[in-house]
Each structure stands twice: as C-alpha cells, then as structure tokens.
Amino acid sequence: MLRWPDAIASRLHRSVLIDLRRNNVRVVGTGSRTLVFAHGYGCDQNMWRLLLPQFENDYRIVLFDYVGHGQSDASAFSPARYTTLDGYADDVIGICDALQLRDAIFVGHSVSAMIGVLAARRRPELFAALIMLGPSPRYIDDEGYVGGFKREDIEGLLESLDANHLGWSSQMAPVIMANADRPELGEELFNSFCRTHPEVAKHFARVTFLSDNRDDLDSVKIPTLVVQSSDDVIAGEAVGRYVHERIPTSRYAHIEATGHCPHLSAPRETGEAMRVFLQALEDGTLATNG
C-alpha cells in the first residue's frame, strides 16, 4: 500500500487547519448528505440559527464565517485576495477541500448565492445542487435590467458604513444588548452576532454591490432552487425571476415571508421550500424550470 510521506501528510494537515480556522468552520448534524450554509453580506453564521433545527437531524451541516466576519480570522483578510467574489469562492472551495466534500448542497444567502455559482463553476464535483435565498446577480440597474439600486445608493451605503462603524468601534457594546426575555441567548453569544471588521465590511459591501455576475449564471448546470420572498427590497421579485430564467436547471419558489432574510423572519416556511426541493433531488424527480 502506498503511504504519503509524513512531511506531505503534515503539510496537508496544516493547510486543512488553516482553512478551517480562518473561516471559523463548524460542522453539526448527521446525515449522508452535506449542506454548506453560506451567510450573506452584513452577518455571520449565526443567521442560520433558526433554520438549522429543521435540517440537523437529516444532514451534515457545515457553517462558516467569511474572513472579517463573525469569529473568523480577520488578520487573514487582504484587499488583494478579495478584490472580487472569486476570492470568497476560493475560501468556500478551501473549506470543502479541507472537509473532503463531494456532491454537497450549497445554501447561499444573498451575495453568497453568487459565490456558490463561482465555486461550482470552478469545481463542479463539489456541489450536487445550489439553493439560493434572495439571490441577485447585479444590484445596480442596467439597460433592460432592474437591480433595484443606483450607483449613488451604493456610495451612500459605504458612507453610512463609515458612520456606523465610527459608532461601533467607539462603543460596540451598546449596539448589541443582552435581552432579558430571551435567557437562552447568553450575553456572550449576543455580543458575537454579526460582528464585522469595519474595513472588511466596507470592502465586502463594495465588492458585493458593485458586482455583476449575470453571465456567470449561464455556467450553472446543476439543480438549483431560487427562494424568493415577498417585498425583498434588496433582491426583488424581478431579480429572482431573472436568476431563475437564466438557469435552465433551476426551480423558483416564491414564499409569503417578507424581507431579505426569510430564514430569520420565516424560518419554517423557508425550510419547507428547501425540503421540497431536497426531497425532489433525492427522488430524482426534479424537472427543469419546475
């Protein structure tokens, strides 16, 4: 039997640890299939907390924070590496490789839906399906395309990030306070919600909201679910339909839940839409444009 020399093995081990530590990777749940949950702009893996109970008994679940978010290693951030969403896709690929994942299901919220598209195109064997919650391939309006925002809006966002981080950096604690009527949320957990490194947040906002991944949608050849909530001001219904139409292998699920974070505002309804899709995937009954 062939054995790798120890040096190679240990180097491999070390690089695995680097990927896992950098992105604060956590693996929970049991099951033969793996769901990789990727949080969106502005938050961290905590945003999946209300959705998880519906899946952790049947799936192995991988959670992580993008660099500069949550409990990730912010020192691993470099503007050069994360100039485009491809840098974030690299991290996703690194995590999957470290965990030796194959044919997993990638669940991406908001901008992460596009990061999943980029990762799947580069490494098709990693993912068997994509689930997109509130995806948008382009946030800024364009000729014949309504993204919902103008360039000035994005510039304004970057400014307001400055204003907010000015407050956050000087008095982080008052922003997030312990809540007496939710004792299960300890103060420690409370203070860790959606913490972002100011510079990273601004950089990620710029990369996210100025990105245009419309043509990348054509590369998707695997079963895909587009979950579109009502009244999503970040990624409106027209945008969700656009994504669905450009991915022939996709299903479109409109849910009653409102806003950009249905997995938080309506975790049950969101989970149900995902379950239907996952069941069809298992059964092999997914029809295109279903």
């Binding site: 809006d153 204003a163 907010n164 306070m177 939710r182 806003g259 938080l264 505002s265």
Partner: protein, 535 residues
C-alpha cells in the same frame, strides 16, 4: 401585512417629542408614527399606514436596514444607535440615529425611535476626514521613518563591511613596509619612505579599527576580554602611544597616576579609551599647551581626568561630542582630522565597563576635561590613596629653565623610535648640546668605545638588549666612560620600574612622555651645569 388593530396606539404626547417614533410590524409595515416622523417623510396619519419603513429610507439606508438592522432585530430583538438616512420628499436625505426593539409577545411589533443626527453626522464626517488625514500622515511618517532606519542600517552594514575589507590591504601594506624598511640597507631615502608609509598605515589602521569597533558596537557584537587590570597600565600604554604626537606638536604631557587602582576590564579596550581621549586632547591643544592625566579614588570609583589647555568647547556641544560622526571643532574651521568616532567609542567602551564619561569645559579657548569614572575592584587591604612616591609628575616651571643652556655639553641619546630620537636630538641641540644618537644598545656601546659624552640618555624599551642591560654594560666598561651619568627614559612609570632603573645603574629616571624642559634640566644637572646658570 399583519393586522394589528392597534393603529392608534401612540400617545398624543409623543407628537411633541423631539424625535421620530414609529410602531411597525416585524417586516417594517408602519402601524403608526408620531408627527415629527410624519413631517420628515411627508405623510399624514392615514397615508403613513400604507408604507413600509425601509421604503422611507434612502437606497443606502434600505440596504443597511435589510442587511444589518433587520437580521439583528430578528436575532436579538434590539438594536441601538444605527446610523441611517431617511429619504425626505425634498430629496435631501435626513441623517438619523435609530434605536429599535422587537417584542416577542403577540402582536409582534417593532418600536422604533429616530433622532435627527444631522449635526452629529457632520461632526462624524469631519472626524472621519481628520482621521483619514491623520492616518495618511502617520503612514507617510512611518514610511519615512522606516526608510531612514533602513538607510541607517544599510550604512552601518556598509561601514562594517568596508572597514573589514580595508583591514586586509592595510595589513599587507604594513607588512610590506616593514619588509622594505629591513631591506633598505644603507639607503636612507628608502628607509625614510618605508617608515613614513608604515607610520601612516598604522594611523589608517587605527581609524579603520575605530570604524569596525563602532559597527560592532552598533550591531551589539563587541565583546570585552574582562580581567583584573591595574588601571595605570593601559593609561601608560596609551600615553606612550600619543607621546610622539605630543612631542611633535610641542604639547606637554603630565601624569599623576596611582598604581594601586585595580579595575575589572579589558586592558586593550581601556587603552583604546585613553588613547582616544589623549590623542583627542593632544590634537586640540596648540603648541606650548599641556595635557594632564589625573587619577583619583572617589569612594568605590576611580576618576581619570584628561585635561587639556586646548580650544575647549561651548557648553551646548559638551553632550554632543559623544555622538557618532560629530567633530567638536568650532564650526567651519576644521583644524583637526579624524572621523568623529573616537569619543563615541570612548563612551560606549566606558559604559560597557560599567562606567561613565563626561566632558567639562569652561568655554571656548579655555580647555577641556574628560573624566572617565570606572568602578574599582576592592582590594583585600585598603590601598593608600595617591601615594606621593608613586607619582611621576612632569611639571617643571617653564620660566626657570627657559634660559638654561647646554652649550658644551655632549649627550649620547639611545632611542630606537626614530621620531622620538629626532625629537630628543632637536630638544637638546636647540639648547646647544652636542648630541650623538644611537638606535640600539650595541650601537651605543660602540660609540662609547671612542668617546665619553657628559651624559647618557637611554630609552629602556630597546630591541635586543634593553636599557637596563645597556647601563650595566656601560658600568662594566670601567674607567671614566664607565662612570658616565645616565638618565633612563621609559613609559613605565611604576615605582618598581624606577627602582629597577636606579639599581641597574642610572642616576635619573624620567617617565615618558618627557617634557622638553625637564629633560634639559635633568641633563644640565647631571652635567654639573645647574650651579653655573642658577648661581
């Protein structure tokens, strides 16, 4: 939208509140809002109920609300001090600070307080701008400092490399100059050339050594070979080294040394310290001036003072003289040479010995004093301080000997160092003496075969046969020649050396560096001339 049935739940008093107050469903659907808020967004109590809070924000505010505020509210039910912009009908955004609470109990409602933050935002923008400018300035400054440090390091490395590389050719030149001198045979021109080359190469080597030492110190690589040292020895060795220069410049050297002081240190490095101080003092003292070395025990320390009558220093540069590459000359007039490393080396070396060095000067033209303070090694039996009989002072009053003539006095000078020999010859012939010189003991004995000088002046440290052996041989010659009065010259000024000299057959012992006047007086005395002129 959730039907709450609590549409009019806002107390009227809140219409007068100095802030916006909004009750909304969890997805932002407005149930009620107070008057200030309605006025901001241009709605009345009825029309406001058809709107959603995010829609009333600017595009940026909407993104921030949806990506940050709403997830946080849903997870932790409360947010504080969020900066957002409300889109006013006029088109001007209104900066606000938002606090919000989302209740758990049904009906689940969000209560939002919004404060006009126009002034605060302006202040924050100014602060951010100032911070950016400050950051940029810090960055620029840091880059400049890094660059300067890097350049300084490069320079130190270059100096270390250059001085190291220079040593090899210098030792080759020195070696070959000595070979050339030995091979000169009887050709005085070649011998002279070889000697000049050798002397200057030694000087060059010392300068390069200083450079190399400085770079070792900067790199933290200088090591001391520490042992118990009788402090007078390195000082005397240093005195001997600077003596030719002092003689050449006409600078008188005087010493008051205590032979019982022991310090813990590196003899070579201590000699370097005093050589630097002495050569500096000689360098900056004009002809006719003097350099005095004193030694005094102060408690557990010994203070060695090197005092000159030279050009002195202004008070403001007394500290600076110990900095590297600093020449203490009066500005513009560089009358002396050197690299400006000597005093910096002195301070480093003295500090490495656990001591200190300070410079004093009464001002320009009034001389300088450098005091080296070193810890003394305790002796088992306390040594008496500054024993007078161990002191070799050279301080003849100039006026008393100024008119002293040596006319008709014949002197044989035995000295192997050519510069010193020439100097002794000049000093004595200037006073009218007839001077014969010899470079070695054997040469001197040969001369004494055929002549009998009035006085013999001999160095002790001669090659082959030393000054002790010479005088013994002379005394064994017998007859008149055997009784020739003799003066011993030596850098070794310790008591036992002096005793040895007298026991060997000398009448007088003069410590180097010998002042010209004292030499003249001594020769005159032994030649029996003192009574004539003084009487």
């Amino acid at each position: 939208m959730v039907e709450t049935g609590v549409g009019a739940a806002i107390p009227e008093a809140l219409d007068e509140a100095p802030c916006g107050y909004v009750v909304a469903t969890p997805d932002g659907g407005i149930v009620a809002a107070n008057r200030p808020f309605r006025e901001w967004v241009g709605h009345d109590a009825e029309s406001i109920r058809d709107r959603k809070l995010p829609e009333l924000l600017t595009g940026a505010g909407r993104i921030y609300f949806e990506t940050h505020v709403r997830p946080l509210l849903l997870m932790q039910h409360q947010v504080r001090e969020i900066a957002l912009d409300i889109a006013r009908p006029s088109g001007d955004p209104l900066p606000v600070l938002m606090n919000a609470v989302l209740s758990h109990a049904e009906p689940r409602l969000m209560t939002v307080l919004l404060f006009d933050a126009t002034d605060r935002r302006r202040y924050e923008q100014e602060l951010l701008k100032a911070r950016r400018i400050a950051d940029a300035a810090t960055q620029t400054e840091r880059l400049a400092r890094d660059e300067a440090e890097r350049a300084n390091r490069t320079k130190d490395e270059f100096l270390a490399l250059a001085s190291h590389e220079l040593r090899t050719p210098i030792s080759a030149i020195l070696g070959w100059a000595q070979v050339l001198k030995n091979k000169a045979g009887g050709d005085p021109d070649i011998a002279r050339v070889a000697e000049v080359v050798e002397r200057n190469t030694k000087l060059l080597g010392r300068l390069v050594d200083d450079l190399l030492d400085m770079s070792r110190i900067v790199a933290g690589k200088l090591r001391l070979d520490v042992q118990r040292v009788e402090l007078a020895l390195p000082i005397e060795a240093a005195l001997e080294t600077v003596q030719p220069a002092a003689l050449a410049r006409g600078v008188r050297l005087a010493t008051v040394l205590d032979s019982d002081v022991l310090v813990s240190g590196d003899p070579g490095r201590l000699q370097q310290v005093f050589w630097n101080l002495l050569s500096n003092a000689v360098k900056f003292t004009p002809s006719g001036g003097s350099v005095t070395v004193t030694m005094a025990r102060v408690d557990s320390h010994v203070e060695v003072g090197v005092c000159d009558t030279g050009q002195g220093m202004r008070p403001e540069i007394l500290e600076q003289v110990f900095e590297r590459f600093r020449q203490s000359n009066a500005e513009g007039t560089r009358q002396s040479t050197g690299l400006g490393l000597g005093l910096a080396l002195v301070r480093y070396l003295v500090e490495m010995h656990g001591g200190s060095v300070v410079a004093h000067s009464a001002g320009e033209g009034r001389g300088s004093t450098f005091v080296v303070k070193l810890p003394v090694v305790a002796l088992e039996s306390a040594a008496p301080r500054g024993r007078p009989d161990a002191t070799t002072a050279v301080a003849s009053p100039r006026r008393a000997s100024a008119t002293l003539s040596l006319a008709g006095v014949s002197v044989l000078v035995v000295e192997d160092d050519r510069d010193s020999r020439e100097l002794l010859w000049r000093v004595l012939t200037d006073r009218g003496a007839e001077v014969t010189t010899a470079g070695s003991a054997s040469e001197a004995l040969q001369i004494l075969q055929s002549s009998r000088p009035h006085v013999l002046v001999s160095d002790i440290g001669l090659p082959d046969e030393d000054g002790y052996e010479l005088v013994r041989s002379v005394r064994m010659l017998g007859g008149d020649v055997g009784r020739v009065p003799a003066i011993a010259l030596t850098a070794l000024s310790r008591l036992e050396d002096r005793t040895d000299a007298l026991l060997a057959g000398y009448q007088l012992h003069l410590a180097k560096p010998v002042a010209a006047d004292e030499l003249v007086v001594s020769v005159a005395s032994l030649a029996g001339r003192i009574a004539v002129t003084a009487g």
